[in-house]
Amino acid sequence: MPSSKSEHDTSYEVVIGIEVHTQLATRSKMFCRCAVDTDAEPNTRVCPICLGLPGVLPQTNDAAITLGIKAALALGCEVNLESRWARKHYFSPDLPKGYQITQYDYPLAEHGELELPGLGKKIRIRRVHLEEDAGKLTHGSKETLVDFNRCGVPLAEIVSEPDIRSVEEADAYLKELRLILKALGVSDAEMERGHFRCEPNISVRPVGQKELGVRSEIKNLNSFKAVREGIERAMADQIAWLEQGREIVQTTYLWDEKARELRPMRVKETSADYRYFPEPDLPPLIVKETEIEEIKKGFTRASVTVSQGTTVTGSHRFILPAEKRKEWLDKGLKKQYVEILVTEPEWERYFMQLLNKEVSIKEASTWLLNEARGVMAERKETLSQFKVPVKEMTTLIGLLRDGKLTRPGAKELLAAMAGQGKGARELMEEMDLGAVSDEGLLQEAAKKVLAQNPDVCQKYRKGKTGVIGFLVGQCMSQMRGKADPNAVRRTLEKLL
């Protein structure tokens, strides 16, 4: 959807840039040694530093810096060997120092890009910088409570250039970005928990116009759905205002999740002057080239090492989603299966475990990504609720491979295993699903079918060999599906 058409027949183009604040997956906070644990009892993960008591000074957390660099490298940014800390001032009860320590003129990294999967388009990344989070306010009817546990939690802010031209692109950008951050262990990136906060800025302009329109910014978007709706809303509003000839004022909106509406929060005239200035309590952030190289070594290219039986989630090996995608496609996996493996780590883990047990990619994709996924969908289960462990799934696939089980039998067995949580062999016997491989029984059934269908036999002998399918089907139903169709076919051919 590159443009939207109005009733006046003017085509509009939307221009979107997105700021993402992602919570870095460190154990301790950005500038003190408090644990990061935002679920703990309020105000139990605090110290003089993150409470901003008189006289305290910040100390940077190396782990957070490393994660920031990792994210920046994954986004193809140039990491600045010297970046600086700055103070951003505003008054709020959840901001103990009256300023946030962030990076301003000299960010950690700049000039990256992210390719939108499937769309082939690249979105430029303007900058990646580090900062600390604020506390959390809970508004009651009479009073407001402050929890400082989140205060000082490390964040990376990732700012795109205004290269995004549609809701679909925005959606793809955010999903891919989140995937990268998760894949690298940079962030848990759980949106509903506020680990991945998206703040798009949106403007529209008539197609062909060079200058950008006036921006609307949206905060408090806590799901991909909200992001899409929010952007659509802002676009629609702006187009309507342009149509009406109204002047658009730069405004920051809050997304009202319940009403699914945009609520104006701040217009530009009254926007805050943050009085940024260099943080005197911290020296410049110096990153050594060797450190960057060391982190780069952690990025592994093409190492879905099926043959050696190692998993992809090694201790310090990271594969970017784009590389992983290519890797699987090259191995002949279907696109829709690749997407499952790239976007759903728990499925990837299960899949890799199957491969480690000498199950082929083809078998694993058929029985896990297709059949088992179907069973789970029917049962409305997630993978973690699925009652078939890797070992039993391997057994089931093995039974099928060895002809002990027919395809229909295997399907029936899988559904039963998912329901009862019993072992494959045990249940197969219990349900009497074992494939009949006894030559005598096969012969007996085949002879019976041939005798019942002399006319079909006639056709076959006259050269219409295609009719054998019908005979195989008859045999299969005779044997209640428990025979290997190939074996049946061979037996029939012999007799005919």
Binding site: G55, P280, D281
Partner: protein, 470 residues
């Protein structure tokens, strides 16, 4: 002078068994009883704790020869440096009721060395002033002349040592707050290189300028305190990673030592008697003097205040009455902020917050804050050039001797100009010491200020010690 031994003397006497810590504490107690109600040097006293600690020290062993050791030595701490479990008022109403849950690094180191902390000393509110008159706890008086100010902002620390309320004290120096009160009270005040002493636990005034420094009776005592509290600190990322160099206080001036006489400071000095008093020991000892010119020194007060006030507007934003200190509850957040801060801060602090906020505002930051930053870099370059010609630089510590109480309280500009000779070294992050001149001016002490290249703290102390002996 104050009737008390110096740190060095007391440590020796305690080692020898010629003195007892309880006796010194009793002496101090007596001095406090006599002078404190008039001088107002202390915000809070902990005499019972001090006596108990002294008894404990006397009962234990004085680890002879182990330096640096301060076992049994009574020290006063400026009340903008945090001591665990005690209030830290910064002489401001806004910190009413606040108890520090932690020790500043310097306090931790003093305690570890066995020092007895006698009390927390009075200061200009949040250390903003040059006379110790802006304190919410009332002004401090100069024990040498009760009609005069002791200087500021560490006026309480200087006054306490001057009247015998402590053997030595810690102050803090942002633009001269250790050196100038030391000069006004006839004491030694040492501001080390920025980064030598941890600022962790020193309540921030202007972070890029603040340094803790000792106020003592002798240079030797300053050196002792310095060696206890200086050195890298993981809690302060701006500390210099290397330990200070060893010192050897021989009292000898190395041959060929050249002292640069800071031309602009002496030219601008109105009172020639101060110049004479400052110059005399160097002439007497025949030390080689060279004239050095640092024209930028003349702009230092303007630049210093722009930078310091900008940082003040940021550093003091945390005092909002939400988490600690004084809250004036009003309907709504904004009114609570306004009233808590409005009533909590004194006029001088408010003036600096307002000017600093303006100096950092969009559209003004280049004209003010950034210009001052550029000035700061240029000044450092002029110092470097001066140190090509001389080993140490000489100036008076202040343009006047102690002035009268109330004389400058209604003239902020005159008050700011008290920093004219002390601000430059602070801006250039250089080590700088004030020692009393032997000659007084109308009976009041004048300070000799010596500045050294950055990180040459030990050499500066050695030299100042030698000059002190002249």
């Amino acid at each position: 002078m104050n009737g008390l031994p110096t740190i060095a003397e007391l440590a020796f006497a305690l080692d020898q068994g010629d003195a007892k810590a309880v006796e010194v504490i009793a002496e101090i107690r007596k001095n406090i009883e006599t002078h404190e109600s008039d001088v107002n040097a202390y915000v809070n006293l902990y005499q019972n704790e001090a006596t108990a600690q002294a008894k404990e020290a006397d009962a234990g062993e004085y680890p002879a020869g182990k330096t640096p050791d301060l076992t049994g030595i009574p020290i006063a701490i400026k009340d903008n440096i945090c001591v665990r479990g005690w209030p830290c008022t910064c002489a401001s109403r806004i910190l009413n009721g606040f108890l520090s849950p932690y020790d500043a690094t310097v306090v931790k180191r003093l305690k570890a060395a066995g020092a007895i902390i006698v009390g927390k000393t009075n200061l200009d509110e949040f250390a903003m002033g040059a006379s110790s008159e802006t304190s919410a706890c009332g002004p401090v008086k100069n024990p040498l002349d009760m009609e005069r100010v002791p200087g500021g902002s560490s006026g309480g620390s200087a006054a306490a040592v001057a009247y015998g309320g402590a053997v030595a004290a810690l102050g803090s120096d942002t633009g001269g707050s250790v050196r100038q009160p030391a000069a006004f009270c006839g004491l030694v005040g040492f501001r080390p290189s920025y980064g030598r002493i941890s600022r962790y636990g020193l309540v921030a005034f202007a972070s890029s300028l603040d340094q803790v420094g000792p106020i003592t009776q002798t240079v030797e005592d300053a050196a002792i305190l310095y060696s206890v509290i200086a050195g890298p600190d993981p809690d302060d990322s701006t500390t210099y990673p290397q330990e200070p160099e060893e010192m050897d206080l021989t009292g000898q001036i190395p041959r060929g030592t050249k002292v640069g006489v800071m031309k602009e400071c002496f030219t601008d000095l109105q009172d020639r008697r101060i110049a004479d008093a400052v110059m005399r020991p160097f002439a007497d000892a025949g030390i080689e003097l060279v004239e050095v010119s640092l024209p930028l020194v003349r702009l230092s007060v303007a630049a210093y205040h722009l930078l310091a006030m900008s940082e003040v507007s940021s550093n003091l934003a945390r005092y909002d009455g939400i988490r600690y200190g004084r809250r004036v509850e009003k309907l709504g957040l904004k009114d609570t902020y306004f009233t808590s801060r409005g009533q909590g801060f004194g006029d001088e602090v408010k003036r600096r917050i307002l000017i600093g906020t303006f100096g950092l505002s969009e559209g003004y930051i280049d004209a003010y804050y950034n210009t001052a930053l550029r000035y700061r870099a240029a000044l450092a370059t002029q110092y470097e050039a001066a140190f090509e010609k001389a080993d140490f630089l000489l100036s008076p510590t202040a343009p006047t001797t102690a002035f009268k109480l109330g004389e400058r309280t209604n003239d902020p500009l005159a008050m700011y100009l008290s920093d004219v000779f002390t601000a430059p070294a602070a801006l250039a992050a250089l080590p700088c010491i004030s020692i009393p001149a032997k000659d007084t001016v109308d009976g009041l002490p004048a300070g000799i200020q010596l500045t050294a290249p950055r990180w040459k703290d030990s050499q500066l102390l050695e030299f100042a010690h030698a000059v002190e002996q002249i």
